[in-house]
Subunit: 304 residues, 2 copies
């Protein structure tokens, strides 16, 4: 439902002089009288994004902030503060609530983010957590989904697929990596992968009025993707998992071939950056085999 | 649960140099490199704050933003933008979703607020809406709950009680009134009444290390409070409703007796402002009868 709805919303919501970037990107850019800020919000729900009874509540808290920091990273904005709103089942104890917040605070501390407020409510239904993160752009401004150009290289951080085995909780949002790369290199566009590499790459390409070719042999596939495929081959190959599982919270970055080469060679931070393909002028998403043949790739992943 | 939890949270969350006002006020004040912004978030839930099947979805959307604008009003901050996150039951149609957003947009238009983004998710449980509103302080800075002083007069806008008959949906947040008063008069503190006049006044007094005396005969009681009391006298007098019903979304303001007199005499805006009592040095909440006798008043209202 989300994509049809978001399309309606983007057409319906009037543009506003104080919001140069609004609905449709990873976060919004607000132009206040005194300066600019970047705001993003994500809601996590029991049974969808986590299972409260099956996991340490701290991991839920941690993830609820981390997914928002990942959105700020996608804009190359520096995180400043977060606000947490909760709908809490009446049978959840104060201890569990505190553990959720301990997880939020652990993540907040790690990235120097202030927990600035929130809203806590009881009800008789499952837990929902909505976190809003506020950041600020650096001097170079923000990165957007719409900035890729035909001929740009597609770079990705980290590895993809199988996050359900644990990484969807314990990933580290690529905040430092985004700020580092944005400050040193000329990047054209970026996005974080929350719903699936192929689905999110396709969104980035469409926002940039481009198409994209992914090199099948270059996609960094996580050990978890191999594990899942081995457990149940019918659910797809390791590459299928990498292309569609989602919740990797890695970055897709668009930049020129020359800059891409420098970035891939830059060893000054710990996360690998890999060249996985290129943006092209014609719309559409393609998967290129090792022999150079291109086949249409249907974007797949998690639809909200 | 909320108050015990909030107390724990306030003690647990470290102070942060970029958040001069954090957990415990109506909204948070963030000090970004480029300037200050004010942020607040409220979550509304089906069966708690509205009943989806019993009302026009537009009223839900309208309310979800209005409660946040009321929080910005309580800080005397100018609203700029809002972000909307939704957990939507799978059986809710796209039409209903659109109507909810039409309500949000109607309220946003009324106050010049930009809808800047959000997050929409499906699940098999009732509707929850979390809205974050972002504002900016005026040159005079923000108003806080902790600014009342012993000897200050308690002023309130509008009337109290019986909001359940419809006003809890259709109230108009006191944004313009707050900005007008804050720009022209020396106000000491403010708060909006969401949980009940007596409960919220007591919170404001405690934050200000004061007590408060309410004049029973001065509290502006709404026609809805009389109506409710007439329908079911066992549920309390009209005054009881005014003191404890909540969701009035009127403002409590603390200011000097001289300024209070000027404000009450100021006829330049449409909403009545009434003197309902005074802040005192000793802690506690008191109800004063017409003959001048004071009785302890137990703060009551809606506990989250």
């Amino acid at each position: 439902m989300e994509s049809e709805f978001v399309n309606w919303l983007r057409a319906r919501v009037p543009s506003h002089p104080l919001v140069p970037i609004g609905i449709g990107d990873d976060a919004a850019l607000l132009s206040l009288a005194s300066g600019k800020c970047v705001v993003t919000s994500d809601m996590l729900m029991d049974g969808v994004d986590f299972v409260l009874n099956d996991c340490d509540p701290r991991r839920i808290g941690r993830k609820s902030l981390a997914v928002n920091l990942s959105d700020l990273a996608a804009m190359a904005a520096k995180p400043v503060a977060a606000i947490v709103s909760l709908a809490v089942p009446t049978d959840v104890s104060l201890e569990v609530m505190k553990m959720i917040y301990e997880g939020v605070l652990e993540m907040a501390d790690e990235f120097g983010v202030a927990l600035a407020g929130g809203d806590t409510n009881s009800w008789k239904h499952p837990l929902a957590i909505s976190v809003t993160a506020i950041g600020e752009p650096t001097k170079r401004g923000v990165l957007m989904r719409g900035g890729a150009r035909a001929g740009d290289v597609i770079l990705v951080t980290g590895q993809f697929g199988g996050s359900i085995l644990g990484r969807h909780f314990d990933f580290r949002p690529r905040v430092e990596e985004a700020l580092y790369l944005h400050s040193r290199y000329e990047l054209h566009g970026a996005m974080d992968v929350s719903d699936g590499l192929s689905l999110d790459l396709n969104r980035l390409a469409r926002e940039s009025a481009c198409g994209a070719i992914l090199d099948a042999s270059q996609v960094p596939i996580s050990a978890d993707a191999y594990r899942l495929s081995e457990q149940n081959p019918a659910k797809g190959s390791p590459l299928d998992h990498a292309l569609g599982d989602g919740e990797d919270f890695e970055l897709i970055i668009a930049t020129s071939p020359e800059t891409a080469e420098q970035i891939v060679a830059d060893r000054s931070f710990g996360v690998p950056v890999t060249r996985v393909g290129e943006f092209i002028a014609d719309p559409g998403l393609w998967l290129r085999s090792a022999t150079g043949e291109c086949h249409p790739l249907t974007p797949h992943g998690y639809e909200h």
